[in-house]
């Protein structure tokens, strides 16, 4: 794991360390098994084509999980994830790289706790944003003991 970030280390506009993923159809099958979401558009190409899709597509919830990992990696061992929102605007297919990214939008202190709100998103290999969202993490502070 990367070194712990503290509230004071970040500024509005700071970029989060990006997270690259290379999902395969095998990963979609594993995710179907682990999550119990067996909707055929995620592993049956004929079914997906019959539904007017370009082929099998990633589970939205898998993309949500990638953005969850972006945030728990960012929060580190001493931080905690408090909110995570995602909207599926574009489809992503296996065999193509996706990158989870984020940027600090706001920093605030509430009830003595230190919070960082981020804009987050998943972008495809063409650099298009397919899955925008936002998240809030609670981080340790260098001033708090």
């Amino acid at each position: 794991m990367a070194k712990q970030l503290y509230f004071e280390d970040l500024e509005v506009g700071s970029e989060l360390p990006p997270l690259e993923k290379n999902p395969t159809t095998q990963q979609l099958v594993r995710y179907a098994g682990a999550s119990g979401d067996f909707y055929q558009i995620h592993y049956d190409k004929d079914f997906a084509l019959g539904n007017g899709l370009p082929g099998v597509i990633l589970h939205g919830a898998l993309k949500n999980a990638f953005l969850g990992q972006l945030m728990t990696d960012f929060a580190g061992e001493q931080g905690t994830l408090r909110k995570l929102s995602v909207q599926y605007r574009g489809m992503d297919q296996p065999g193509a790289k996706v990158t989870a990214r984020g940027k600090v939008k706001k920093k605030y202190v509430e009830g003595g706790e230190h919070f960082v709100e981020c804009d987050i998103w998943l972008e495809n290999a063409k650099g298009e944003m397919t899955t925008p969202g936002s998240a809030v993490v609670m981080l340790p502070s260098r001033s708090a003991r």
Partner: protein, 148 residues
């Protein structure tokens, strides 16, 4: 005028499911973490997770999906049964841990329709609470489903 979301259908807003009960298994958390490709020790390795603030393994942020999604069987008179997942908003209060017995309760929070790229689309918002055996709300998920 609403084409599909009639007054009759709107009456379903606020409807809640009976709690569904799930026992959280350590192996399931690990398999879920492997499936999403997240090797963070807090989701995979009990010995290492014990050294952290969590004091042991916990479930990844979206693990609630493994308890299924409630669709409420809304009797919409639409030409196809096509559906899409629109997104989710999660709020976290306490970790979900191996050995927890979770009660999962879903509420139909909203149904609305609008014209979009795919024609008339019906959006449903389902709010799901994940409550542990101590009666503590660990997670709330608000998920948006799209019918078109």
């Amino acid at each position: 005028m609403a084409k599909y979301v009639t007054d009759e259908i709107k009456k379903l807003i606020g409807k809640e499911t009976e709690p569904r009960t799930f026992d959280v298994e350590r192996g399931h958390i690990r398999r879920f973490a492997e499936a999403i490709g997240d090797s963070n020790p807090i989701f995979n390795d009990e010995a290492k997770a014990r050294q952290t603030q969590f004091g042991g393994m916990v479930a990844p942020p979206t693990f609630g999906r493994a308890f299924g999604i409630e669709f409420f069987n809304i009797p919409l008179q639409m030409p196809t049964a096509r559906g899409l997942d629109g997104g989710s908003d999660w709020e976290y209060f306490e970790p979900i841990r191996p050995g927890d017995r979770m009660s999962v309760i879903s509420k139909l929070a909203d149904i609305r329709e609008s014209e979009g790229r795919l024609g008339t689309m019906v959006f449903t918002t389902v709010e799901t609470r994940y409550v542990n055996q101590f009666g503590r709300v660990c997670v709330i998920q608000r998920s948006t489903g799209i019918r078109y």
